[in-house]
């Protein structure tokens, strides 16, 4: 385990590490105006809004805050304590897998001195939580870290090491800064005024993120690329060749983005990871925090490119293998989540709106989206979203039709999966762009389970496109979207 890394991270105290005295807390207010893309009409944005939260100064020009605070930002500014001035900031890196964002200010304003990073989450200890109140004063409150656990980040499919914090301070936004013995102990991700508890992201994650982001070549956090389940059922344990007391979890499937020869295989039973025994619920005993889910051994202590030593039972035979860790992002998935709400590539040709399916598009239908969207698309997402037949495969949709004389007879089509364009198979939206660039336009489009192609009149297509762009106020008929579904945006 990379204790050396943890030790190194504490050296991220750039400049003079000071105790957090009354007016010198390294806390800033972060104000971000944002405008999300419309999931249904990818060429336009939704109503803009403003989010306010906090961040922590980590050196003379950088601040760390939460990724959700600056998601889809149009403008970011920070405010120092005792100042109403808005200081422009830019986004250096955001990583939704750990819920963090790194900001940079080029202004010459003197930021408060950065804190020393605590080397671990202070479990069952008193902490201090600091934020900036409505008078622009630093406001502090006591809190207590009740427990440390690997849990899902708020509103995210990703998990990370967090602390449950009980505090008497009414935490007024994401990113409130948690100190322990004047050292940075974490950032608040969420807070419930009802239960007076919140989630705090651990410094180990923050310091790893900062170090990686500042180096410039962001590698992200490690993944072993498999899905798993607890293995409690004694019958199944016996069937898989492990005894009732041996511990271990069951590998369900390997995920795309991991080298084939280094994959764990379905029905492998993982007994130890890097020497730590894993119980049948997936927990190990962490030297610092006690029982934690074993993915902490990968995401928390390893980096992409490392190899983990793993004891498994495969086909009833106990064996040691090395599992190469990678950084896995959703671009490998058949249906990316698009957690960050990045702009998605699209084409509008003859009023036919063509785009890729994302989790965000499905979930934009609301809380009962599973029954509101086309059942085939919901089923694909729920059962196969991680599993393209071939790397790079996506679900390309004819998502809707903008009615126009050129598409009379086709206007009822919605959320149909596209098989072919101009007679060529389609694996992702890139294929559609390529074919359109090669052929000049879409002449024929085939849909799954509809054995009659949609045909567009080529003679009138250019005029129709112009008319449709004008009537439906499309800023562009085609957009490749610079970074579709990217984990990071610089």
């Amino acid at each position: 385990m990379r204790y050396s890394l943890l030790a190194a991270l504490t050296l991220l105290s750039f400049g003079l590490a000071l105790t957090t005295q009354a007016d010198d807390a390294p806390v800033v207010r972060v104000v971000a105006t944002h405008q999300a893309f419309d999931p249904f009409q990818p060429w336009q944005k939704r109503t803009p809004g403003t989010r306010r939260g906090f961040g922590v100064v980590i050196d003379a020009s950088h601040i760390v805050t939460t990724s959700s605070l600056v998601q889809n930002h149009t403008l970011i500014a920070i405010q120092l304590a005792r100042s109403g001035e808005f200081i422009p900031a830019s986004l250096v890196k955001t990583d939704p897998q750990v819920g963090l964002a790194l900001l940079h200010i080029s202004d010459t304003t003197q930021l408060p001195p950065p804190p020393v990073f605590a080397d671990k989450v202070p479990v069952k200890c008193t902490v201090e939580i600091a934020q900036i109140d409505e008078t622009s004063s630093i406001q502090r409150g006591d809190g207590r870290v009740l427990k440390v656990l690997v849990d899902a980040l708020p509103g995210s499919p990703y998990s990370a090491l967090q602390g449950d914090v009980l505090t008497d301070l009414n935490v007024d936004g994401e990113g409130a800064v948690v100190f322990h013995d004047t050292k940075l102990a974490g950032l608040m991700l969420s807070y419930s005024r009802t239960s007076r508890t919140g989630k705090m992201l651990s410094t180990s994650i923050i310091s790893r993120f900062v170090q990686d982001a500042l180096e410039g070549d962001y590698k992200g956090f490690a993944s072993a690329g498999f899905s798993w389940k607890p293995l409690v059922d004694p019958t199944k344990r016996a069937f898989l060749g492990v005894g009732p007391t041996a511990g271990g979890i069951q590998v369900l499937n390997s995920l795309p983005g991991v080298a084939e020869n280094q994959k764990l295989q379905p029905n492998d039973v993982v007994l130890t990871w890097d020497g730590y025994p894993i119980d049948n619920l997936g927990y190990y005993t962490d030297p610092s925090y006690g029982r934690l889910l074993f993915p902490q051994l990968i995401k928390g202590y390893r980096i992409p490119g490392d190899a983990s030593q793993v004891t498994i039972v495969r086909d009833g035979v106990r064996q040691e293998i090395q599992v190469q860790l990678t950084h896995r992002d959703e671009n490998s998935d058949l249906i990316p989540e698009n957690v960050e709400g990045d702009p998605v590539p699209y084409l509008v040709e003859g009023g036919l709106v063509i785009r890729e399916l994302t989790g965000r598009l499905l979930k934009a239908h609301g809380g009962q989206w599973q029954t509101r969207v086309d059942p085939r698309l919901a089923h694909l997402y729920l059962t196969s979203r991680y599993a393209p037949d071939e790397p790079g495969d996506r679900i390309v949709l004819l998502s809707s039709v903008l009615p126009d004389p050129i598409n009379i007879g086709y206007q009822h089509f919605r959320d149909q999966i596209i098989k072919e364009v101009n007679g060529q198979p389609i694996r992702n939206i890139g294929d559609v762009f390529r074919i359109v660039e090669e052929d000049g336009s879409i002449a024929k489009l085939s849909l799954r389970a509809i054995d009659v192609p949609i045909v567009l009149d080529q003679a009138s297509l250019a005029n129709a496109n112009e008319r449709i762009a004008s009537q439906y106020r499309l800023p562009a008929l085609r957009s490749k979207a610079p970074k579709p579904c990217s984990v990071a945006n610089n």
Binding site: K229, T235, N253, A378, V452, D457
Partner: protein, 514 residues
């Protein structure tokens, strides 16, 4: 808000209905106004009142969650009328799942036992027989009108709706003649008469009269509408009566070809239809439809039985523009529809013999048929049905449950039917130590047991004969995880589970298995 169509049988428990999109049922709330008995209409109408009978039915639905059990018997009543041949015509939903039926004439206190002779669940019609010939004394069979009523014609609805015990007459006008869903089957659409006469629970099966002749049979209403009722019109009734004339009911045949209109000029040109305004193109052939083996995808249907099919799929029929499917509606099982088609460069004539092969993937409502099941280790498996999906209710957000929704709509379109005869679902766990860890598999679609593909319930028994190294390995569609049962323990647990939960038998494969 969705419009909700309710059957109009008066039931003491509740009236149920389908909200189509989510296949959920709801308790219909209908305001029941007391209906004053109008003054006598024509003398013919007065005579007809003696032909309108009240039907008392005791029904017992099968329990699709505990398939060896039935629900509590409930009593309901509907209406019917006497037709030639000493028979009573009513709605199928009035007498479906009936354990005991009685009929009573207007003004006669005596109830006569009756039984269902024919039931057409696809058109919600049934014919009853009464064994005691005394019932038909002093009765006159109704006369059917030979044509559809006109819009705004004033019609009279006769029956025994809630709000009183005597016969009731209400008047209204025909406000629409259209195709609509028949909620009894939940999937079939046929012609309906929409009338603004009050059609309330209990009216079901009663005649709708115009000038003393029957032009329809009251059958369902719109719960959120104001006096919007529906009647089954003469053509549908005639279709049913003609069908049963040979002593058995075959049902409406299904063409089983989905077509796309050819209004798009570019599409027409690509199909070599430029310069004409006829033809629709087949884009899907139902593997359980009549067209399978005769029509092909890509065929352009130019005419049906000599009628030109316009580019929007309509034909000119009796001076009206109607969907070409209306011609198919008039066909009986075994008849043919003659199409002139264009297939590639060729124009050819094709006769499609019309049938309705047993299709397990249409998911109609099921009546008068016990659900089949097979219990393994306390896990109850049963073929997926509309009834079971309804029992899952609104809880369709889970992966397993959503998958059920998917297969009910896409089973045939996505070819999921090809390696199975039915979708076998784990519908319930009867808790026992042998199945403690089976909870995550609830509502899973069974795909494989012990390496053998499961096409139907009977396959389960065969697969269970070959455990893998002493274990039953059960796999479900769309799940990476498998369920493992110890074969020896499973065998030992069977009698314990059956006894503990009062299950009469571990399997029921339909009537032939009894």
């Amino acid at each position: 808000m969705h419009e909700m169509i309710v059957e109009t049988t008066a039931k003491k428990c509740r009236a149920q209905n389908v909200q189509r999109r989510h296949l959920t049922w709801f308790i219909a709330t209908v305001s029941f106004a007391l209906l004053a008995l109008p003054q006598c209409g024509s003398s013919n109408e007065a005579a007809l009142r003696h032909s309108v009978v009240k039907i008392y039915a005791t029904m017992q639905r099968d329990n699709f969650s505990l398939p060896w059990q039935s629900s509590r018997p409930i009593s309901g009543n509907g209406s019917g009328f006497i037709i030639n041949g000493k028979r009573i015509l009513t709605n199928a939903h009035v007498v479906s799942n009936a354990r005991f039926i009685e009929v009573k004439k207007n003004g006669n206190p005596r109830r006569f036992p009756a039984h269902v002779k024919f039931a057409g669940h696809d058109c919600d019609l049934a014919v009853l027989e009464v064994e005691d010939p005394a019932f038909f004394e002093d009765t006159t069979p109704v006369t059917f009108a030979t044509t559809l009523p006109q819009l705004s014609d004033t019609v009279t609805v006769i029956g025994y709706p809630m709000g009183g015990s005597r016969i009731s007459l209400t008047e209204g006008v025909v406000s629409r003649i259209d195709y609509s869903i028949y909620t009894h089957s939940g999937v079939d659409q046929h012609l309906v008469l929409q009338v603004d006469a009050a059609i309330n629970p209990g009216n079901s099966g009663g005649p709708v009269l115009l000038n003393g002749e029957v032009v329809g049979l009251a059958f369902q209403g719109l719960s959120q509408g104001d006096n919007i009722g529906y009647a089954i019109p003469g053509p549908v009734i005639r279709h049913f009566l003609t069908d049963i004339a040979d002593g058995s009911y075959h049902g409406y045949p299904e063409l089983g070809a989905a077509v796309m209109d050819t209004r798009n000029a570019a599409l027409r040109e690509s199909l070599n239809l430029a310069g004409t305004n006829t033809g629709v193109v087949v884009y899907y052939i139902d593997p359980y439809g009549s067209a399978k083996g005769t029509l092909q995808t890509g065929d352009v249907l130019l005419t049906i039985d000599g009628y030109d099919i316009a580019e929007d799929g309509t034909v000119e029929l009796d001076g009206n523009t109607v969907e070409f499917n209306e011609l198919l509606e008039r066909k009986q099982w075994g008849e043919s529809a003659c199409f002139r088609i264009m297939r590639g460069p060729e124009i050819r004539s094709i006769a499609v013999p019309l049938t309705n092969p047993k299709d397990p993937y249409t998911f109609r409502n099921i009546y008068d048929r016990r659900p089949e099941y097979c219990i393994v280790g306390g896990l109850v498996f049963s073929p997926l049905s509309r009834e079971y999906l309804r029992s899952v209710g609104r809880n369709l957000n889970g992966t397993n449950q959503q998958q059920l929704l998917y297969v009910t709509q896409y089973a045939k379109i996505d070819g999921l039917h090809e390696d199975r005869d039915a979708f076998v679902v784990l519908i319930r766990r009867l808790p026992h130590a042998v199945n403690t860890y089976a909870e995550p598999f609830q509502d899973g679609l069974l795909s494989e047991i012990n390496g053998l593909r499961i096409r139907n319930l009977r396959d389960m028994q065969r697969a269970l004969e070959k455990p893998q190294d002493g274990y039953h390995v059960i796999r479900f569609a769309g799940m990476d995880e498998c369920l493992v049962l110890n074969a020896e323990q499973e065998l030992a647990a069977r009698p314990q589970i059956l006894a503990r939960y009062g299950v009469p038998a571990s399997v029921y494969f339909g009537e032939e298995s009894e």
